[in-house]
Amino acid sequence: MKSQFLTALRLTLTMLVLCCGIYPAIVWAAAQLAPGHGEGVQVTQNGRLVGFANVGQRFDKPEYFNSRPSAASYHADGSSGSNKGPSNPDYLKEVQARLDTFLLKNPGVQRADVPAELVTASGSGLDPDLSPQGALVQVPRVAKARGLAPEKVQALVQQQVVPSLLGPNKVNVLALNVALDALAK
C-alpha cells in the first residue's frame, strides 16, 4: 500500500513536468510565430490601442455601427451570457424594449428587417461580430449621423463582410467602425 502511494506521488511529479512544463512550453514557443504573438491581435487607430480584433466592445452611439446587446456590458475580463430561458416573461419584455429602442433610433426601418441578433444577447457578452444584415440595417442611421451618402456607407459595409466557406458570413464591428472613421475624414 505504501509503495502504491510512493509510485503515485513520483508519477504525479513526472507528469507535472510533462503536461504542465514541456507541453505548454511548445505551444508558447509556437505562439511566438502566430499573429499577435499569442497575446491577442491588437487593433490601433492613429497609433492608439483601441481594442482587440476578436473581442467585442460596446458601440451604442448613433454615429457608430452598434454591437449586439451584452450580458457582460462588454467587460472583457468577465465574460457572460444572459442565461435567460426562451419562455421567461421578463426576458421577453426586455427583448421587446430593445426592439422598441432600436426602431426609435433607426426611423424608417421595418420590424421585419431587424435581425434577431440586434435584440438578443450573445453567448459571451463579447461577440465581436454582426451578420451582414445586422450592419446593413444600421446604414441609414450611421450615414445620417455622419452626414455621409448612404450608398458610400453601404459600400463600406459590403467591403467589410468576411465571407465564410462553411460558416455564417460576418462583419467585425470594430474593424467596420475603424474603417468608417477613416472614411469620414
Binding site: A8, L11, C20, I26, G56, R111, A112
Partner: protein, 568 residues
C-alpha cells in the same frame, strides 16, 4: 443545401473518418504491438524510471483499481492545495484571490472526476498557475485514467485472459504520451494561429473607440483548450468557455475544437473491436451510439435554426435561428451541433449558452447526459456502454432461452447485480438530487431566490440539468443557476464523486470476474453480439433504462415549457 448545414455535416463526417484510423492505432498501442509511435519508447522508459513504475509487472483487476484510486487521492490533495493557496502562489499577474474551501472542494472534485462543473469564472476565479498546474494537469491525467480503466476492460475480455491484465501505469502513461499530448498539441497549434492567447502577460488595459475603459483577460489559454477538448473534460479557460471569442475565435477553430470532442470517444468504441480482433463488434457499438446520438442531434439542429417562437411573434427577422446566447461567427447550426456532441460525450464545454436553448434542445442535451453512453467520455463512455451490453446480453438470453454469455463467458448473478446497480445509480443520483433541491426551494423560495435565474418550468430544468450534468461528469450547465453556494458546491461534489468512481469500479470488476471464468467456445447456440439485431436490443435497453426513468422529470421541466411556449 444551406451552407451552414453543410458545414456541420462536414465537421461530423471528418471526425468519424479520422476516428477510424485512430481506433486502429489505439488498439495497436494498448496491445503493445509495433507502431510508428514506438520512437517514444525510450522517453516512456525514462518516465517509468522517474515515476518508480515497473512496467513489466502485470496487475489483477483489484490491483488496477487500487493503483487508480491511490493516484487519484494524491491528485485530490494537490488540487485542494493549489486552489486554496493560489492567491499567494506565483503566476498570478491579475491578483486573483484564493478559493473558499467549499468552492475549492467542488472545483477539485469536479476536475478530479474529469468533469468541469465550474462554480467560478476563469478570468477572476483562477490564477495562471492554477489554470496550468491544477486544472490543465487534471485534464490530462483524468482523461488518461478513464482510458486506462477502459483498456483494463478490453484486456479482460480478450480470449485467454485470466488474472493478469497488464500494468495500469503503462496504459496511463501511454495514453498521455501517445494520444493525449500529440492530439492536444495539434488542436492548440491550430487555435493559437486563429488568435487564441498563449501568454503569461496580465490582462490588457484598453480604452475603447467610444472611450470606455476595460481590461481584456488573457493567459495561457491555447494549451489548456487543446486538452480540454481532446480529453472530454470541457473545463473552459474563460467563464463562457468556447463561446468566448478568444477561446474560439473563428469558424475553423470551432470546427477543430468541436471535432476534438467526439474524436477519442468514437475511436475508443472502434478500438474495442480492433483490440479483440472482432472489428464487427466495434462497429456494432459505434452504430448504436451513432443512432442514439442522431436521434438527439437532428431535432436540436432543426429547433435552433427555427428560432424562439416568442421572438417570432415580435415580427422581426429570425432567419438565422435562435440567437440568444449564441455567437455570430458560429451561428445556430454549429451551436446546436456542439450542444449535443458535448453532452452525449462527457465533455461539457459549450459554444453557446445552454440555458437559452429552446426547451426541447435543452431536453436533448439532458438526454445525452442521462443516457451517458452515446460515445461518452474518453474511456468511461465505453465503460458505461459496456454495462448496457451486459444487461442486454442477459435480457436477450432470457428472451431466447439461452444461457446469457458474452465473448465466451457466462454472465451470472454477480455480474448482473453489479451492472444493474451501476445502471440504476445514475437516475437515482440525478432524481434524488433534483427532488431534494426542488423541495428546499419550494419550502423557502425567498431564502433561495438567488438559485434560479428563470421562473416556472425552466427554473426546474435548471436544477435538473445541474444534477444530470454532475452525475454524467459532464460539466455543462444551465448557467443561470446561482450555484456557488455551499448547498450546490457540496451536493454536486458528492454526486460527482459517486458517479465517477462507481461506474469505473463496476465495469472493471465485471470484466475482471468474467476473465476468470471458463471460456466456452462459440457454437450454433451462442447468442451473437456483433449483429444488427443485438445492436437494436442494446439500443432499446439503453432507452428503457436510462431515458424512461427520467420521463416524469422531463415532463415537469422542458416538455411543459415547450408546450406552453409553442402553443401561443
Amino acid at each position: 443545401m444551406n451552407k451552414e448545414l453543410l458545414g456541420i455535416l462536414v465537421i461530423f463526417l471528418t471526425t468519424v473518418l479520422l476516428a477510424v484510423p485512430l481506433g486502429r492505432y489505439l488498439a495497436t498501442i494498448y496491445r503493445g504491438d509495433k507502431s510508428w509511435s514506438d520512437f517514444l519508447l525510450p522517453f516512456e522508459r525514462l518516465l517509468y524510471r522517474l515515476g518508480g513504475v515497473r512496467p513489466e509487472r502485470e496487475m489483477t483487476w483489484q490491483q488496477h483499481l487500487l493503483a487508480l484510486l491511490a493516484i487519484n487521492l494524491v491528485w485530490f490533495g494537490w488540487a485542494m492545495f493549489v486552489l486554496c493557496t493560489q492567491g499567494s502562489l506565483p503566476l498570478n499577474p491579475d491578483h486573483n484571490p484564493s478559493m473558499t474551501p467549499d468552492q475549492a472542494f467542488n472545483t477539485a472534485i469536479s476536475f478530479l472526476v474529469n468533469c468541469n462543473l465550474q462554480h467560478y469564472s476563469g478570468e477572476s476565479g483562477l490564477t495562471y498557475f492554477s489554470q496550468v498546474f491544477c486544472i490543465m494537469f487534471l485534464q490530462f491525467v483524468t482523461a488518461a485514467t478513464g482510458m486506462a480503466a477502459c483498456v483494463v476492460v478490453f484486456n479482460a475480455l480478450r480470449e485467454g485472459a485470466v488474472d493478469k491484465l497488464g500494468n495500469f501505469y503503462v496504459y496511463f502513461v501511454r495514453s498521455i504520451t501517445r494520444v493525449l499530448v500529440p492530439l492536444s498539441l495539434l488542436v492548440a497549434l491550430v487555435i493559437v494561429f486563429q488568435g487564441t492567447p498563449m501568454t503569461w502577460q496580465a490582462k490588457a488595459p484598453v480604452v475603447t473607440m467610444q472611450g470606455d475603459s476595460t481590461f481584456v483577460s488573457r493567459g495561457p489559454a491555447a494549451a489548456m483548450i487543446g486538452i480540454k477538448q481532446i480529453g472530454t473534460n470541457g473545463g473552459g479557460y474563460y467563464g463562457v468557455n468556447s463561446a468566448h471569442p478568444l477561446e474560439n475565435p473563428t469558424f475553423l477553430s470551432n470546427a477543430v475544437e468541436n471535432g476534438a470532442i467526439v474524436l477519442i470517444p468514437i475511436a475508443m468504441a472502434l478500438a474495442f473491436g480492433y483490440y479483440l480482433r472482432r472489428p464487427k463488434l466495434g462497429w456494432m457499438v459505434f452504430g448504436v451510439m451513432t443512432a442514439g446520438y442522431l436521434l438527439l442531434q437532428l431535432p436540436t439542429v432543426y429547433l435552433e435554426m427555427h428560432g424562439n417562437p416568442a421572438i417570432t411573434h415580435l415580427g422581426i427577422d429570425q432567419s438565422l435561428g435562435s440567437l440568444e446566447g449564441k455567437e455570430m461567427r458560429l451561428g445556430a447550426p454549429a451551436s446546436a451541433l456542439w450542444a449535443i456532441q458535448t453532452t452525449v460525450t462527457s465533455n461539457g464545454s459549450v459554444n453557446a449558452m445552454h440555458d437559452s436553448l429552446t426547451p426541447l434542445s435543452g431536453m436533448n442535451a439532458m438526454l445525452g447526459m442521462m443516457t451517458n453512453a452515446f460515445y461518452g467520455g474518453v474511456g468511461v463512455g465505453f465503460l458505461n456502454f459496456f454495462v448496457f451490453i451486459i444487461v442486454a446480453v442477459f435480457i436477450s438470453g432470457l428472451m431466447v432461452g439461452r444461457t446469457p454469455e458474452f465473448l465466451g463467458k457466462k454472465i451470472e448473478a454477480r455480474e448482473m447485480k453489479i451492472a444493474i446497480l451501476i445502471a440504476l445509480l445514475h437516475p437515482l443520483l440525478i432524481l434524488a438530487g433534483t427532488a431534494l433541491s426542488a423541495h428546499l426551494y419550494v419550502g423557502n423560495p425567498t431564502e433561495y431566490a438567488g438559485w434560479l435565474a428563470n421562473p416556472g418550468y425552466h427554473g426546474f430544468s435548471e436544477m435538473l440539468y445541474e444534477y444530470t450534468s454532475a452525475a454524467a461528469n459532464n460539466g455543462s450547465g444551465f448557467e443561470g443557476l446561482g450555484d456557488n453556494t455551499p448547498w450546490w458546491n457540496i451536493s454536486t461534489g458528492v454526486v460527482l464523486l459517486l458517479s465517477r468512481y462507481l461506474p469505473i469500479i463496476g465495469p472493471v470488476a465485471i470484466a475482471g470476474l468474467l476473465a476468470r471464468k471458463k471460456y466456452i467456445p462459440e457454437s450454433a447456440g451462442t447468442l451473437r453480439t456483433d449483429t444488427g439485431t443485438f445492436g437494436v436490443m442494446v439500443f432499446f435497453v439503453i432507452w428503457i433504462i436510462a431515458a424512461l426513468a427520467f420521463f416524469p422529470a422531463l415532463a415537469l421541466g422542458p416538455l411543459a415549457e415547450h408546450f406552453t411556449l409553442y402553443a401561443k
